[in-house]
Amino acid sequence: MSHAHDKTPNNSAAESARETVEPAPAFTPALRKQIEGFLTRYETKRSAILPALHAIQDELGWIANEHIEILDKEFGLHRVQVREALTFYSAYRQKKPRKHTIQFCNNIVCCMVGANEVIDQIKGHIKKYENQGVEPPFSVEGVPCLCVCDGAPAMLVNKDRHLKVTKENIDSILEKYASLPG
């Protein structure tokens, strides 16, 4: 079962509640300029939706409804079409990410050498934080192949690659990140 698709209604309700209290970060002038460039790059304006969303996520970490409204009103990208693209690709984040985002490969090679067990262990850590009433410093999701099967099981934490992640060494890696600022 793919973890990327594992969105239970309860989860998303809690997340959207969190969303409303967290104000969406504002567009920076550099981001605006970048998006304006995309608008003229393609034959149709609609084609600029994907790169624009990428740019927003790279710059601000996630894509809020407010950002869609800005794309609609200020850049002339239809909000329905933007939302269609945004909801189609699970790699776009629609909610504010936690301090660190763990993307763990859950394809066949990594699974054969224990990826699922490590993911469960990470989830256990997250649960511990939640039980203490603390916002966990990381989130975990299963992703398809990270193209380093020789280093399986592989994971990405933010943009750092970690190879041969096992039940034994995962705790120390997490500890290191938990003490780092976001």
Binding site: H5, R79, V80, T87, F88
Partner: protein, 500 residues
């Protein structure tokens, strides 16, 4: 495009203009190819993968909606290979369909049901639980959306993009979780929403107005012209003659309207229903008491009155542009031609903006036959006679006013107020459908009329094109007559002996 191509369709040679798709050619030849996403009024999407045909010499089946016919092509729609493809395509569409036909309004006119019977008829192999999705979504004034029933054909998305250009609908998420919807917390807001219900091949969009009112197989549909404005859309009227009830209008493909009609026009069946109609004729006796009567009695009392005055000066005629050309002809032939009446007034709604047009179908002129009435008045040497208020009728000193009221009350917001002021006059004979005339205690004389769905005739639209009312329903009101029938009865009326 005068160039034609000739290709074989199921072994028969077919010639079509170059650029025609196999789907369109097959439709022209009455060859049924099952389809969901293709619609003659919308662009080709090719998403349902249902309209597979075999082209000889090509390794795989192809979708006919996006396949242009070329010279020498040999297309077969009924090979075993194609039939199997249709069958399994249908089963895939039904994987997550809830099959709640017993409580679905679309049952009876549903693409899934029809195609199951024509190309399906397989035992279902789907044993896994179905994906559950949001239901009973309020997405617009007349729309209820059930995303579980949806098969994602995107007809509605394309309608919003291409026809109304609002782009209000989209497909969100993906795979078996994909749902049709509007942007969060927004609704579809235009005058063409119910077309989405029509083009939806399944029961995903249902009409709030028609929802749970009637099973469609109990309804009879008859072709007519929408009386809501001067565009004159071709429509089908759906009614149940046994209970004398009307339920809805749907567009019928026509020159004036293409495939669509507006929501305002769809309301124009309501005034035909008995609960709001004048149900019988009445007249007033010498002591001023109102008496219910039948049609002959109403003609008798009106005929007597007309015989007692000089029609040319004492009679005024009020007529609206919502009746047929044939009715105007018989009306003016008698009243203007035979009786020489000069006071003919055209009754119009004061608030209407006659030249308005929304760019698609709906016009500011809310009368189906403005052109027809103008032509008839001109032929009889009468000016346009447009009057919005009726003080002048009181001042004209006419002893008898024949007020033929506009048929569709929703197009005349001031109708009741104007009827009220007319009843102040000495003697007004109302020829009307409006039940409010009967409710008005001061009204002295009234004859119930037939509605547009109950008579034959023609309307002339804004463009001068004529639209035909050809297949009348039986009139739910026993004494209901059209203008021609009332005029014929008046013409034939003679005072009987001992009646004076």
């Amino acid at each position: 495009m005068s160039e034609t191509v000739t290709f074989k369709l199921n072994g028969k040679d077919v010639s079509v203009p170059k650029g025609t798709t196999v789907m369109e050619a097959a439709r022209r030849e009455n060859v049924a190819i099952p389809h969901f996403c293709w619609h003659p009024g919308l662009s080709v999407a090719g998403v349902c993968r249902f309209c597979m045909v075999k082209v000889e010499g090509r390794p795989k089946l192809e979708i006919s909606c996006n396949l242009q016919a070329t010279n020498g092509m040999d297309v077969k729609t009924d090979t075993d290979e194609a039939k199997t493809a249709h069958k399994w395509a249908l089963e895939f569409h039904l994987v997550n369909h809830p099959l709640d036909c017993p409580i679905c309004d679309q049952a009876g006119e549903c693409g899934l049901q029809d195609y199951y019977m024509s190309v399906g008829k397989y035992p279902s192999q789907m044993t896994r639980p179905k994906v559950l999705k949001p239901k009973i979504l309020d997405v617009g004034r007349d729309l209820v959306l059930d995303t579980e029933r949806c098969i994602l054909c995107t007809r509605c998305v394309r309608f919003e993009e291409e026809v109304t250009k609002t782009g209000a609908l989209g497909i969100f998420d993906r795979g078996d979780r994909a749902i049709i919807g509007t942007y969060p917390e927004t609704k579809i807001d235009h005058n063409y929403q119910t077309n989405l219900v029509d083009i939806c091949p399944v029961g995903a969009f249902t009409s709030r107005d028609f929802r749970f009112k009637q099973r469609v197989w109990f309804l009879k549909d008859k072709p007519a012209i929408c009386p809501g404005c001067s565009t004159g859309c071709s429509v089908n009227v759906y009614g149940k003659p046994e209970t004398r009830t009307y339920f809805r209008l749907k567009p019928r493909q026509g020159e004036a309207n293409g495939h669509w009609m507006c929501d305002k026009g769809r309301e124009t069946y309501r005034h035909l229903n008995q609960d709001v109609r004048l149900r019988g004729a009445f007249t007033t006796d010498a002591k001023g008491h109102r008496q219910d009567t039948n049609f002959a009695g109403a003609i008798e009392s009106l005929g007597k009155r007309l015989a007692g005055v000089n029609p040319a000066s004492d009679v005024a005629l009020l007529v609206s542009a919502q009746h047929t050309n044939e009715e105007y002809k018989s009306l003016f032939d008698y009243f203007v031609g035979d009786l020489g009446i000069k006071n003919v007034y055209q009754w119009r709604e004061p608030t209407e903006k006659i030249d308005d047009f929304d760019g698609l179908l709906y016009r500011g002129d809310h009368n189906a036959n403005t052109r027809g009435l103008q032509d008839a008045l001109k032929q009889n040497g009468i000016g346009s006679g447009v009057k919005n208020e009726f003080d002048f009728v009181a001042k004209s000193g006419a002893k008898i006013v024949i007020a033929i009221t506009p048929e569709v009350p929703s197009t005349f917001p001031s109708l009741n107020r104007q009827l009220e002021s007319l009843t102040e006059l000495d003697f007004v004979s109302f020829w009307t459908l409006a039940g409010t005339v009967g409710d008005n205690k001061k009204a002295k004389h009234a004859i119930p009329m037939k509605g547009f769905a109950e008579k034959k005739g023609t309307f002339t639209n804004h463009d001068g094109k004529s639209g035909e009312l050809a297949a009348p329903f039986p009139c739910p009101v026993v004494d209901g007559r059209d203008i021609s029938e009332i005029v014929a009865a008046l013409k034939g009326w003679r005072p009987t002996h001992g009646n004076k």
